[in-house]
């Protein structure tokens, strides 16, 4: 990479916004774009690859690891087509949600940290991270990854959705406090 390109990479910023409530995460991403005010600042949304959209077309349960592998596959797509190009051009990109949401789900169901870290190791390092609190809607009418996780794993396994949401939120708050 030439010197000019390296300088541009340094200027690119990756802002991660995570949370169990996808609507709140999206709203925070819109607000972040407004407040950053940088030209060409973009947002990388969950399921940009359409993996979970396509999953909706087929019935069947899925384990937490399967769901996380799909989350990672979608994130790999977003990293390749949305996040890495933005950083390479020195732009600011808001990833909503990003790595922490997947990690929180994994920790909530008891998967070990090292497996989760290995799974998501390809994701570019974020410049700054924010966690959005869940609204009441997230407990009653989940959207995004939480909806998929509830329908594909929690419900068939007899796990209470509200408890899963709260446990994920607890894990999300942890790194934010550090």
């Amino acid at each position: 990479m030439d010197r000019a390109a390296q300088t541009r990479v340094k200027r690119g910023r990756l802002v991660a916004i995570d949370g169990v409530d996808l609507q709140a995460v999206r709203a925070a991403a819109r607000e972040a774009v407004r407040s950053i005010g940088a030209p060409h600042c973009g947002v990388s949304h969950w399921d940009a690859s359409g993996v979970f959209h396509e999953l909706d077309l087929v019935d069947g349960a899925a384990s937490p690891r399967t769901l996380l592998l799909l989350y990672a596959a979608d994130l790999a797509f977003r990293a390749r087509w949305e996040i890495a190009p933005a950083l390479a051009e020195g732009r600011t990109i808001v990833a909503a949600p990003y790595v922490a949401t997947a990690t929180a789900f994994g920790r909530a169901v008891g998967l070990d940290r090292s497996w989760l870290a290995n799974l998501l190791q390809f994701a570019p390092r974020q410049t700054e991270a924010h966690v959005v609190d869940a609204g009441r809607e997230a407990l009653t009418r989940p959207v995004g990854f939480l909806r998929v996780a509830s329908a594909r794993w929690a419900a068939p396994a007899g796990i209470d959705r509200a408890a899963l949401t709260q446990e994920m939120a607890r894990h999300l708050r942890r790194p934010a406090r550090r």
């Binding site: 399967t66 592998l69 920790r107 796990i159 408890a163």
Partner: protein, 253 residues
């Protein structure tokens, strides 16, 4: 962790109790090898023989889960997969089949024949440039097959058999990483890398190598003999974690 998920230590103890002292336990037998090595022919012959011998047999095939296969198929057709995405989606398919087909069958003392197992993913992903340890860890928690039959052929034989009646498809030929326009030439280069990885895996994981250049009947006889020897092996405690997690997260009664 969620209170509603059973304690993993208790699940481990339950798994050990379940498999302890079983006289005719389930077995996991993997058929591995490059395309054109004849493993599917041998797998079918072997299954027919096992059923005739009175075994309850389940077959699981690579990239075949109802949930993930359509996702992979569409992306392959669009040539839209990076090596990382290719790897992750195939691990997802593998995990789905482990949870829904392999682990339940082994728990119920059936014989599972896997037409390709995680070693296919490892060989292909590493041939695409991914890190071996990274890919192996994606497949955790692992269930080690009781036997792995590795059908060994040269790259030239694989190329000759595959290209005899069709043109290899884009990902099969590794054209996403070779940058070679001619599919058959790309296949030859890519399968050479894959076979190199398979040969390493055969050493590391102690596969039983079957010379797939031999006649079909000779190979089948050898597989029967090897199965008779291997079927008396004790259950591997390495598999406890995979079963314990399956019980914990699926709340099996």
């Amino acid at each position: 962790m969620l209170d509603q998920i059973p304690d993993v230590a208790a699940c481990r103890a339950r798994v050990r109790r379940h498999f302890k002292g079983r006289t005719r336990r389930g077995l996991l037998i993997a058929f591995e090898g490059p395309d054109g090595s004849g493993k599917t022919t041998q797998r079918k012959l072997f299954k027919t023989w096992l059923v005739a011998e009175g075994y309850d047999v389940v077959t699981t095939k690579w990239n075949s889960s109802d949930l993930i296969k359509p996702i992979i198929k569409g992306r392959k057709a669009a040539r839209a997969l990076s090596p990382q995405e290719f790897s992750l989606l195939h691990v997802a398919d593998f995990r789905c089949r482990m949870d829904a087909e392999v682990l339940p069958a082994l728990w119920d003392d059936k014989i599972v024949i896997a037409d390709r197992f995680l070693f296919t993913g490892l060989a292909r992903d590493v041939a695409r440039g991914l890190d071996f340890d990274h890919v192996l860890k994606l497949y955790q928690p692992l269930v080690w097959p009781d036997m792995v039959f590795y059908f060994s052929v040269t790259p030239a034989t694989s190329r000759m058999r595959v290209a005899a009646d069709r043109v290899p498809n884009f990902y099969e030929a590794g054209q996403d990483v070779t940058d070679v326009e001619d599919a058959v030439e790309s296949y030859h280069r890519f399968i050479t890398r894959i076979i190199r990885e398979y040969d390493s895996l055969a050493d590391i994981f102690n596969f039983t190598t079957v010379n797939a250049e031999e006649g079909i009947a000779e190979q089948h006889r050898r597989i029967r003999d090897l199965f008779r020897e291997g079927a008396r092996r004790p259950w591997s405690p390495w598999n406890v974690e995979a079963f314990a997690e399956w019980i914990a997260l699926h709340k099996r009664g």
